[in-house]
């Protein structure tokens, strides 16, 4: 039967052709077309990233793609992967899958199909070039998640939360001074138009993505089909990560090429000043998570050991 795949991102997003369509194709091929997947892009099955996990849990869609950071309280362990200095953008997805058993229980309201780490978040600033923690002090910075908020606080700036589509207006109007988001922001959200500087090269958060499947839909499949989904889901995690990294790097390069815009690539020395603060933020997040009954220290050690 045909399964519904909810993608809240516009069809032109690189994920669509680079990861989601291959997911559908591989699944069809592996199951002799017993499972076909129709991808509804652009939020046709329901807009925005926030409710996507719900949509898969409740069965609006059979598959849904989303970000754990939008409903952080549901994924405290998974979100440990996004803490600065825990994984890096190149090998992160591999590390996540070596430890997948740690994260799976958090997705138990649905079935976890894919999970991958994103590109590093980078800092777009409206007017102020950021090279040292002093530069960033007191700035209002949009953060993608609670953990990113801790990081920004550790830098001495004020975190502001807002949905991605509002960053553009907020930067343009000075509601915020900067935004922490991955390098795809240059193109996908046109942040190149409303910021002058882009700082990269320090430890920041790396927001993970997931694809989940509705439990009943999964249960209705035979063992062979289930195995195919598990295997292809894992494979697509790696593909999706590669797609996103390429797009993010392209976004950073595109920013550098725009008139009057500057990409600030921190030297190791400059980065170290930020990274020391990031270590504090990580320690604080681990402490908080531990206080709420999660073996956060062990999880982070396991991830860092790779």
């Amino acid at each position: 039967s045909e399964l519904k795949f909810a993608n809240f991102m516009p069809p032109a997003n690189p994920y669509q052709a680079g990861a989601f369509e291959p997911f559908a194709e591989k699944l069809a091929a592996a199951t002799n077309n017993e499972i076909t997947v129709h991808i509804y892009a652009g939020g046709e099955l329901g807009p925005g990233p926030v409710e996507q996990f719900s949509r898969a849990v409740d069965g609006v869609a059979d598959f849904a793609v989303g970000l754990p950071g939008y409903t952080a309280s549901q994924f405290p362990v998974t979100l440990l992967t996004e803490l600065p200095g825990v994984i890096d953008e190149e090998t992160g997805t591999e590390v996540i899958w070596k430890n997948i058993a740690l994260f799976k229980p958090e997705f138990k309201r649905a079935v976890l199909v894919s999970l991958w780490s994103n590109a590093d978040n980078v800092l777009y600033t409206r007017e102020k070039p950021v090279r040292t923690p002093d530069d960033v002090k007191g700035l209002k910075i949009r953060v993608p998640s609670r953990n990113a908020g801790l990081l920004v606080e550790a830098w001495g700036a004020t975190p502001v939360s807002m949905p991605v589509p509002e960053i553009y207006n907020a930067l343009q109007t000075g509601v915020i001074d900067g935004a922490l988001i991955d390098g795809t922001g240059t193109k996908a959200f046109k942040l190149g138009e409303v910021s002058k500087y882009l700082t990269v090269g320090f430890d920041t958060t790396i927001s993970p993505f997931f694809i989940v499947m509705n439990r009943d839909s999964f249960a209705s499949l035979n063992d062979e089909q289930k195995a195919a989904i598990e295997e292809i889901g894992k494979e697509i995690s790696v593909t999706a990560n590669a797609v996103q990294l390429a797009a993010a790097h392209k976004g950073i390069d595109a920013f550098a090429e725009m008139d009057g815009k500057q990409v600030i690539r921190l030297s190791d020395e400059e980065a170290a000043a930020f990274n020391a603060l990031a270590d504090e933020a990580r320690a604080k997040a681990i402490e908080e998570a531990t206080a709420s009954g999660i073996a956060a220290g062990d999880v982070v050690s396991a991830l860092q050991a790779q």
Binding site: Y70, T71, A72, S73, K140, G149, T158, V160, P163, V175
Partner: protein, 168 residues
């Protein structure tokens, strides 16, 4: 087309829904004040209120859900009345009746599913991202507002059946 007779309609329903709508109005004024102050704080005191969007979202649910029974009670929902004459008296009567029956059914499903979501959100202790506000009261308000709306619709069905009258 006579409006529904005042005698047949329990005044208590009018008063109860009005009270809720008034509460919704207070919430709206609160929100206006809150965002107003937040803007002032940002420009005057240079300190934005963190996570204000989550408060706005929460209060918006309250405003809509508290005002919905009143809106339904007053037949405040937009409808196309161009064919009213063409469908005849029987058409109008059955239209009023069946549209309310269908609406009642669908809203009842909504109330039930909202209730399940409430239980789910409580079990998993879902909270908002920045302010860690619990999510389940959002669903609670949906249960309450839509539930009352169902109640108003059922009463309207009863009145239509008893009096044979069309709604406004």
């Amino acid at each position: 087309m006579s409006p529904i007779s005042k005698k047949a309609w329990p005044a208590l329903v009018d008063r109860a829904t009005l009270a809720l709508a008034a509460l919704a109005g207070l919430f709206l004024l609160f929100l206006v004040g809150l965002v107003f102050v937040a803007v002032l704080l940002r420009y005057v005191a240079q300190s934005p209120i963190l996570g204000i969007n989550e408060i706005v979202q929460l209060v918006a649910v309250a405003i809509v859900m508290l005002a919905l029974p009143w809106c339904t009670d007053r037949n405040g929902h937009v409808r196309a009345d161009v064919f009213d004459r063409a469908i005849g008296r029987a058409g109008r009567f059955s239209g009023d009746l069946f549209s309310r029956c269908f609406s009642t059914f669908v809203l009842s499903v909504l109330v039930y599913r909202s209730w399940l979501k409430l239980l789910d959100a409580r079990e998993f202790e879902d909270v908002t991202n920045m302010l860690s506000l619990p999510i389940w009261p959002f669903y609670g308000m949906m249960v309450a507002g839509m539930g009352l709306c169902v109640f108003v619709l059922v009463l309207q069905i009863a009145v239509i059946l008893m009096t044979g009258e069309e709604m406004k």
